[in-house]
């Protein structure tokens, strides 16, 4: 017997969704929706002003997140969510800018921007959903695909070393680096809340199933099987040296908060430099209050 929707209550995350676009396009058992769920709950818990959030995504399955959240959201070009987000933040420092994109988008085509933004410590909250594959385009090898996996562009098995994303962004200078899986819904929410409370470049990697491509081609079952695998294989290693948290095909998944440090963010450094050099002549980094607008309706 089916329970139909109860009219007296509402899903706590419903206000964060573009309900008129549901159901979304993600596959059964795909973990991206679960990450969005955790994200919405983090927004509730951290009580961030929703009007102040701008969410930027790239291209790919995770890139579609921007279209489903009821926030100022930008679905940009492949790999370039981070520079777009940087521009948003520069023009309006009061924005809380979130970059929500996939492993291929952020670390392959977007790799250069990832490391520079981390180096500069641009105040961005980056959520990297890592399904270890290029899912949207049909399951090609990503820089994060573990060795000996089968993909559509490595039909005989991958042989390239894979990126250890936490190590990469840690080395580049990120101030907050964490990894969770879609099994760790509560910890993920908490990590996102922590990132919101932090100024600087925060990077949260979420390991997520791609049942249609990665899991299927590698005989790992469906989304649920993968969630159970995450539960078994994950080991919380808070504070672990990021060099040690690389992933393998069926091995241990180190999760936790690896890096949480304080460094002045890009705009703080910029302002300090200008004030030191220019003193009173420095008029600040935005003037867009002066971009007067006209009423286009009359």
């Amino acid at each position: 017997m089916l329970n139909v929707l109860d009219d007296d209550t509402m899903n706590p995350v419903e206000p964060f969704l573009r309900s008129d676009r549901m159901p979304h396009i993600w596959c059964p058992g795909c973990g991206i929706g679960t990450t969005v769920n955790s994200f919405a709950r983090a927004l509730i818990d951290s009580e961030v002003d929703l009007d102040s959030i701008a969410l930027v995504s790239g291209i790919g399955c995770t890139g579609r997140v921007a279209g489903y959240v009821k926030l100022d959201s930008f679905h940009t070009t492949h790999g370039r969510a981070i520079p777009f987000a940087t521009g948003l933040k520069m023009a309006n420092p009061k924005l809380n800018v979130v970059v929500y994109s996939g492993d291929g988008d952020l670390s392959a085509i977007g790799g250069n921007h990832l490391i520079h933004a981390a180096r500069r410590n641009i105040d961005l909250k980056v959520i990297c959903v890592n399904n270890l594959i290029y899912a949207m385009t049909g399951g090609q090898t990503a820089p994060t695909t573990p060795g000996h996996a089968t993909t559509s562009t490595n039909p005989y098995g991958t042989f390239e070393p894979a990126f250890n994303l936490p190590a990469l962004v840690d080395a580049a200078g990120a101030v907050y680096v964490a990894r969770w899986t879609t099994f760790h819904v509560r910890q993920l929410s908490r990590a996102i809340s922590e990132a919101f409370a932090k100024k600087g470049f925060s990077f949260i990697e979420v390991i997520s199933p791609c049942p249609t491509l990665y899991q299927r081609r590698n005989k790992m079952g469906d989304g649920l099987d993968t969630m159970k695998y995450y539960k078994e294989a994950s080991k919380v290693r808070n504070g672990a040296p990021t060099g040690e948290v690389g992933l393998t095909l069926n091995g241990e998944i180190a999760v936790g908060k690896f890096v949480d440090r304080d460094r002045p963010d890009y705009q703080t450094l910029m302002r300090a430099q200008y004030v030191e050099s220019l003193g009173d002549r420095y008029l600040g980094d935005t003037d867009h209050a002066e971009v007067e607008t006209e009423c286009a309706c009359g």
């Binding site: 959201s73 679905h75 370039r80 520079p83 777009f84 940087t86 924005l95 006209e294």
Partner: protein
């Protein structure tokens, strides 16, 4: 709306085109730029980096042109007027994001200080060989506006025009300078701010409930909102409907892409700027733009001294191409002479528009130095004989 005085360096200056372009941007209200160094354009953003902190704004040198060309768009959606500056190789890298600006209707300016190409080419020497690329460089069907200054003064004046057109039509505007115009030093008069007209951002006054990010009030250009104002709008490069939501059907594609095209093509009377002289009784019309127009003027003067009936049409707007003007001229002139610092780009547009009704003589040059006026003069003489 009048320009913000903080950005207007009123006075008489002796500066080069690159520097004048920067002042034009500031006068137009640009308060954010994202750039990447490339000869011969770098001075524009170097000056901006030096000026903008004392005007109220910011500059960021990004890690590559791919980043610069999209960071500026983030700046626009964050509330600023923004631009970037580049030359050939960087222009090529920026093409995807020019298309993104066209598709998302992000008002912004891309300055290309053209140099010899292809590839690394002649970094310190002029060409005008990016003209077709400015129009067709990104994939898909879209329209852009391209302006061609021919002096440092125009680098100031027309940069303001570029920003104004960008805001008016919510379109990326290509500002097609060249290395000579960029690096030549001439008198540039910057008027007081209250004499400079600036087009403000077409910001919606609608309520959050009523606002449609890509809905139009019948004028084909939607109203904009900025991030952080509570509108919670969505912007995507995917084919989208009036809500801004992805809607990938042939019907939505047709409606959207045709509107992107028509909003520009229906306004060519206001967008197509040119300078003309003695066209009414001309046998031959010299059509030129940018630095070549300065040399062409000399050749035209030489032809007048010879008693030849030569008219001048200087393209200030290269795109959209002023078809109507050429069609009209082709009815009564014998020939067009088109000198340009390339092996034949805008001349193709002239030929197309003339549609066989007048001959076209291209005076081409592979780039690296301006034309010799004699070459243009000789072409005028030959054209007069046909």
């Amino acid at each position: 709306m009048k320009a913000d005085p903080k950005g207007v360096l009123t006075g008489t200056h002796f500066i080069d085109g690159d520097h004048a372009c920067c002042e034009g941007a500031l006068a137009a209200g640009a308060r954010f730029a994202a750039g990447y160094p490339i000869t011969p354009s770098t001075e524009v953003v170097e000056r901006f980096a030096s000026r903008v902190p004392t005007v109220g704004g910011s500059f960021i040198q990004m890690e590559d042109e791919l980043a610069a060309s999209i960071a500026l768009q983030g700046g626009v959606w964050g509330g600023a007027k923004a631009f970037t500056v580049t030359s050939g190789p960087g222009f090529s890298l920026m093409m995807e994001h020019i298309g993104y600006a066209a598709m998302t209707e992000t008002p912004c300016v891309f300055v290309d200080v053209q140099r010899g190409g292809p590839s690394t080419g002649l970094p310190t020497l002029p060409a005008q060989a990016d003209m077709m690329q400015a129009r067709w460089g990104s994939h898909g069907d879209y329209e852009i506006i391209a302006l061609c200054p021919n002096s440092p003064q125009e680098c100031f004046d027309l940069t303001i025009t570029a920003f104004n057109m960008a805001e008016e039509y919510r379109v990326p505007v290509m500002f097609m300078m060249d290395e000579v115009v960029g690096h030549m030093t001439e008198k540039v008069v910057i008027p007081p701010a209250d004499q400079i007209e600036v087009v403000p951002r077409k910001h919606t006054k609608k309520s959050v409930e009523d606002y449609l990010p890509y809905g139009t009030n019948g004028d084909m250009v939607p109203e904009m909102a900025h991030a952080g104002e509570g509108y919670k709008f969505h912007v995507t490069g995917l084919t989208h409907d009036e809500r801004g939501y992805p809607n990938m059907t042939p019907q939505t594609q047709d409606k959207l892409v045709r509107r992107l095209q028509n909003k520009i093509l229906s306004a060519t009377d206001r967008i197509c700027l040119f300078e003309e002289d003695r066209l009414d009784d001309a046998d031959v019309v010299v059509i030129s733009y940018g630095i070549t127009s300065r040399v062409a003027q000399r050749a035209i003067d030489m032809a007048h001294e010879r008693g030849l009936k030569v008219g001048k049409l200087r393209l200030i707007t290269a795109w959209p191409f002023p078809d109507k003007k050429i069609v009209e001229l082709a009815k009564h002139v014998k020939a067009f002479v088109v000198p340009e610092l390339n092996l034949g780009q805008m001349v193709r547009e002239v030929q197309r528009a003339a549609n066989g009704k007048a001959k076209t003589f291209a005076v081409t040059h592979a780039g690296g130095g301006v034309h010799n006026p004699d070459d243009i003069f000789n072409a005028i003489v030959e054209a007069s004989r046909c």
